[in-house]
């Protein structure tokens, strides 16, 4: 009786997911396997060509490589910058910690578009940096800071950093300080306590932060378009371009290549960090 009711409760969300997510994704995959058509969404004949064309084209391979490079750079930077901040936040007394976390969340309340334009105002040819450097005479002509891969990395990283900090800070806050005391009692100084105990025990937070930042990087559009311009396009930009050119099967194939990339990277990160080994119930 109880399980029957539970099954009934499951029906609406299940139906929603099937109807609006699983169905469309499968349909999109179906589209990606057809030849393009001038008049229809997709042509009649089945073909793997949409995939082989992308994966055999050095232009697209270059885009994929750049996408991976941007993701790697953003992950590395947000980890290196985010972890120490998270460590500091976790040491704060509860009230102060809440305050700092609120401050970290605050930028997320401002639209991505606004923040991307903020970077445009800083990095543009007549932006803050160039005018400043010109003013003190360090450069003679404005630098091309905007519309470059570093601009994309900087802009996106600053937007995504809070996700990393909050994830790791939560893991460190929940960490029982007795583990660190146990390590010290066994002769481990501060550095080795951190490396052998604190860091491995914070991997669930590192993993969730890394995955959030990675997936948001791979799916970011507004920021990379505004800061990367036509010269620093990523895989998402190509999907969008395909759609606007009405090359539906081509765009669908690109979307699935992006999805595959995301899945492989997720598996890789989980295999590397193995957050599961510290998440079992310790009793």
């Amino acid at each position: 009786m109880k399980t029957a009711w539970a099954a009934v409760l499951l029906v609406p969300p299940l139906a929603m997911t099937l109807l609006f997510f699983v169905g469309p994704v499968l349909y999109l995959f179906w589209v990606s396997l057809h030849e393009p058509s001038q008049s229809e969404l997709y042509g009649a004949a089945l073909t793997p060509q949409n995939y082989t064309a992308v994966l055999g084209d050095s232009f697209y391979l270059g885009i994929i490589r750049r996408t991976l490079g941007v993701a790697a750079a953003i992950l590395a930077l947000s980890l290196v910058i985010g972890y120490p901040v998270a460590y500091f936040v976790a040491l704060l007394p509860p009230r102060r910690r809440m305050l700092v976390l609120l401050m970290l969340i605050f930028p997320l309340m401002v639209s991505n578009v606004v923040r991307a334009y903020g970077w445009v105002a800083i990095l543009g040819r007549r932006g803050v940096v160039n005018t400043g450097l010109l003013g003190v005479g360090m450069i003679d002509a404005p630098l091309d800071l905007l519309y470059s891969t570093p601009a994309v990395v900087t802009g996106l990283m600053t937007i995504l950093l809070p996700y990393m900090v909050i994830s790791i800070a939560n893991a460190l806050t929940a960490l029982d300080r007795r583990y660190e005391e146990a390590a010290q009692a066994l002769g481990a100084g501060p550095v080795r306590t951190f490396l052998h105990v604190t860091l491995p025990l914070s991997t669930p937070g590192v993993a969730s932060g890394t995955l959030l930042v990675l997936l948001l990087t791979l799916s970011a559009y507004v920021t990379i378009t505004l800061l990367g311009g036509p010269r620093s396009k990523l895989l998402v930009s190509m999907v969008y371009d395909g759609v606007t050119a009405f090359q539906w099967p081509h765009a669908a194939a690109l979307a699935f290549i992006l999805l595959a990339l995301a899945l492989v990277l997720t598996a890789l990160i989980l295999a590397l960090l193995r957050p599961g080994r510290v998440q079992g119930t310790g009793r």
Binding site: Y179, E181, A182, A185, L186, G187, A188
Partner: protein, 355 residues
């Protein structure tokens, strides 16, 4: 006692948290190879005292010595001790063997020597077969043994135990008490054991310090603490006690003749003639006799059968009394008029000057 025989010494150690005095000028000496228990209710400062020895807390005043060396300014990881936590604090990402090896690795012991020491330690706690398991795959009792193995494998000058058996159920706890005691004696370890369980302290310890409000009320061997408590708190904390008031009517050297509702008896007491004193008698030392006998007249109010013993609750002119009777002898019923008696050597005059 000199430092050569004391593995741990606290000299006038004081620790406050804000306005709360957690440890109030404590002096302590723990001889080599003994188990020393810090016993008291929660908030009495026993855990803080342990953490002061470990160095997790710094004293506001006073010095801490381990094996004669003043360690007050030295951080925990350079002190010669190890610790078993109430929550065990086993590293969840390391296997049983890696947990036990941790301290040896930090000391830079070579791999082969380390492996040998680890398997020896695991054999000692009878966990050799579980070396490759992870903590989450073990029962509470097994985790407790791993924590113990991890602590003794580094051969510390002193082993600190913070209510290590508190999370185990009663049966397992009593088994582990005996095992811990045997292990400690076999290895000759000096141990400081924090507990709020008086039975545990009596079972395990060579010496017990009873603490209250950051002060040690009495230190002594378990039998001494139990049989000759200095004050009402110690008497009451180590199991039930009957308290009876009396007056000193005569003195003869160290002994005094005390007039009590049950008659005159000669007891060890410091106070002078005419002083009121309070006497403690353990329930198992309080005899119940027929009403005709000499003694304190009383009436049986309540009887609780406890298996090996029966608890008799009595009312008398000197107040309520409690007596434990072995279930072999005479039996009484509720409402019976009886006489309560005790031997002079079973009675203790409280609040004597501390010796």
């Amino acid at each position: 006692m000199n430092d050569a025989r004391a593995d741990v010494r606290l000299a006038a150690v004081r620790k406050t948290f804000g306005s709360v005095v957690a440890v109030d000028d404590i002096d302590l000496e723990i001889p080599r190879g003994t188990i020393f228990s810090l016993l008291g209710p929660s908030g009495c400062g026993k855990t803080t005292t342990l953490r002061l020895i470990a160095g997790f807390e710094r004293p506001d005043a006073g010095e801490v010595y381990i094996r004669g060396q003043c360690v007050t300014p030295i951080p925990p990881y350079r002190r010669n001790f190890s610790m078993v936590f109430q929550s065990y604090a086993l590293f969840p990402h390391l296997s049983v063997a890696e947990n036990v090896a941790f301290g040896l690795r930090m000391r830079g012991m070579a791999r082969e020597e380390r492996a040998r020491a680890v398997s020896e330690a695991l054999e000692l706690v009878k966990l050799g077969a579980l070396a490759d398991r992870y903590p989450r795959q073990l029962s509470g009792g097994q985790q407790q043994r791993v924590a113990l193995a991890r602590a003794i494998v580094i051969k510390p000058a002193v082993l600190l135990l913070d209510e290590p058996l508190g999370a185990l159920d009663k049966m397992l706890r009593e088994e582990m008490q005996i095992e811990l005691r045997n292990l400690q004696q076999r290895l000759g370890i000096t141990a400081v054991f924090v507990t709020h369980d008086q039975e545990e302290a009596l079972t395990l310890s060579d010496c017990v310090a009873v603490m209250r409000n950051g002060v040690i009320e009495q230190t002594g061997a378990p039998r001494e603490i139990y049989d000759r408590p200095h004050n009402e708190f110690v008497a009451g904390f180590l199991g039930a006690s009957n308290f009876i008031d009396g007056t000193i009517v005569a003195r003869d050297g160290a002994t005094a003749i005390v007039e009590t509702p049950a008659g005159r008896m000669s007891l060890l007491a410091d106070s002078g003639i005419g002083k009121r004193v309070r006497i403690a008698i353990r329930p198992e030392r309080l005899r119940i006799e027929p009403v005709a006998a000499a003694g304190l007249p009383a009436r049986v109010r309540d009887i609780v059968y406890r298996g090996p013993v029966t608890h008799f609750y009595l009312d008398s002119a000197a107040g309520p009394l409690l007596s434990y009777q072995q279930n072999a002898g005479a039996s009484w019923s509720i409402g019976d008029e009886v006489a309560c008696a005790w031997d002079a050597q079973s009675a203790v005059v409280l609040d004597r000057e501390r010796t």
